[in-house]
Subunit: 137 residues, 6 copies
């Protein structure tokens, strides 16, 4: 079992806001992240796929395919978008990095399985100091 | 003459949009950067100050003072804000990184001069691939 | 179960030295790290916390709280200090990065548990080439 | 059990090519990586070793020893070499990063065991976006 | 006058070799860089363009145009290629990073001038430790 | 005229302290940097050399020579040392990064001139946020 990783990048706006709470409660919990006009980040998305090495290619999975899946199903929908208002799979959900990582897992896991490999980890880097990882369970 | 540099960071939303143009023209020129619901970035701001070394301190300028000026007058106004709607010194201006660098220069130049040193360069890093520098002329 | 990570930084002096050994033996084992007048590093501390996502916040744990715990109990005691002489929880111990990681775990593990989350990993980066991780067992 | 990591670097040429396939099939699967005159990368090799802390040194394993093993047995054979033609332990194998990680594991695992520690992971970073990890099973 | 910078990447094989010298002389001067089967690097190319800000766009030059020029005329010809054998504008020249920077300048300078801006600097990063800059004179 | 740059690293302890001042005055001006037991950093030293390209080598100056000069005359004297007490060329001087940059210039400038090239800049990076540059005048 070998693990391969691919990094892709996207730049998005978002806001942390719970609509069931008052503005005061949102400000208290989320601080400056609750700014009503949004803020934004350059996100790194690092996807780890595991599998055995195909002896004909030396690959666990062709990175060209992994790049394409990440781009079509994830980063094209997130890049230069607003995570609160523009992304179908985030509508009605908290736009936190934790929730985003779980939703990306749900999208990529079945797509990668079609390539005789297994999604192992979805990692998001929101700033140079804040990171989230999800392993599917 | 010695040059010192300080990096600070801020995370902001913005949109590239010329209100004198049609939406089609904006989309044509700015592409995905014109998204009406904004996108965002982690920006690095690197300020270069030049001056002679004070023999009592070994400093061109105390970095504690430079950090404070950058924070109070610039990054506190930009961090977790929307460059198009929330920042007094950007209102009515194109929210491009080039324009932002020039406006930051105008703010910091007189403040730094009060510390017997000279602003030399304002550098902004918008992504890991796109950078702007302004030297005041 | 989702994993969140926070990076904080500190700059410290230290020396690798076993007082039960001769100076020659210390020099033989620790080389230039045994320099009696100390050397130093910029350390990165990356703490990983695991837990389930709180549906009201989208968070495993509020990063504001994690930052505060890391700062009050760890980095405020290490930053711009000497690991051999200035840090209460390192006195009488080898000032290696391995030992420091274990001691940071002991301090942070009970504090993080109070926030309905679990410390998963303490990672220290001493240079761009040397790293240590501790998972509590 | 504590984990220590050491990064070393090497710069190599390589080509992805399966000699049992036609040139057309190689181009189809490997794309520009099949270029017959080779291309190249700056690789990062990160080796993780696990073990208990020696109370006399504060070390899992002296990094001087780990550096030496990585250099003598691995990076001296790879750096400024061609992975397809110049490296004894890669001859006749696909010069993919996955295969290289497995071969480095086979070389280092017995050498590290002689130091009362255990090889845990071989990580290779081929570019800033593509990474491979192998854990020995 | 504002300066904008764009980074692009390419991965190439090369060899330092002077055909007018003996192999011994080449080995003496170029060391391991003279390996006859080539080695390789991930190069960063950072191009700096200077000009005044267009008030309609807030841009010195549209980065979409700068990216396209860098890609079509430079990195598409270098990426996954051999600098000694595959690149038309390097044939018969020493494949050093210095020479490559000068040749890239010659190619990009007239192309950028067509966009009412001026090429200011071509920077190449060959490893994390070795860099070259050329300012056209 | 082409510019080449070489980065080397060193890890040192230091303290900012003016012996002509009271402890209180030192604490007021230098804050935590005045800690009497020292603190430390991983420094990056980036030296820029300018010159014309030698047509026989494609080099401004052989990086092997530049590395050797930087190592023998500078980093071997600084690495794993205390800048206040262990470094001959810093004795009696303020151990600030500004002063260190100027002293490194004085050492390297005549050595590089012997290689038919010119020292252009000494850059020191003290942390990921604080940098100093000196151009010799």
């Amino acid at each position: 079992m070998v693990y391969i990783q691919r990094r892709e990048r996207f730049s998005s706006a978002h806001q942390l806001f719970n609509p069931n709470w008052s503005i005061e409660k949102n400000d208290e919990v989320f601080g400056k992240c609750a700014n009503k006009n949004f803020h934004g980040h350059n996100f790194n998305l690092i996807v780890t796929v595991k599998g055995s090495i195909n002896p004909d290619t030396g690959f666990v999975m062709n990175l060209v395919d992994l790049k394409r899946l990440m781009k079509i199903y994830v980063t094209d929908k997130l890049d230069h978008r607003n995570l609160n208002t523009d992304v179908d799979f985030m509508l009605g959900k908290m736009a936190s990095t934790e929730v985003l990582a779980v939703e990306i897992w749900k999208i990529l896991e079945p797509k990668i399985s079609e390539h005789h490999a297994f999604l192992h980890c979805v990692r998001l880097e929101e700033t140079e100091n804040n990171f989230v990882e999800y392993y599917g369970e």
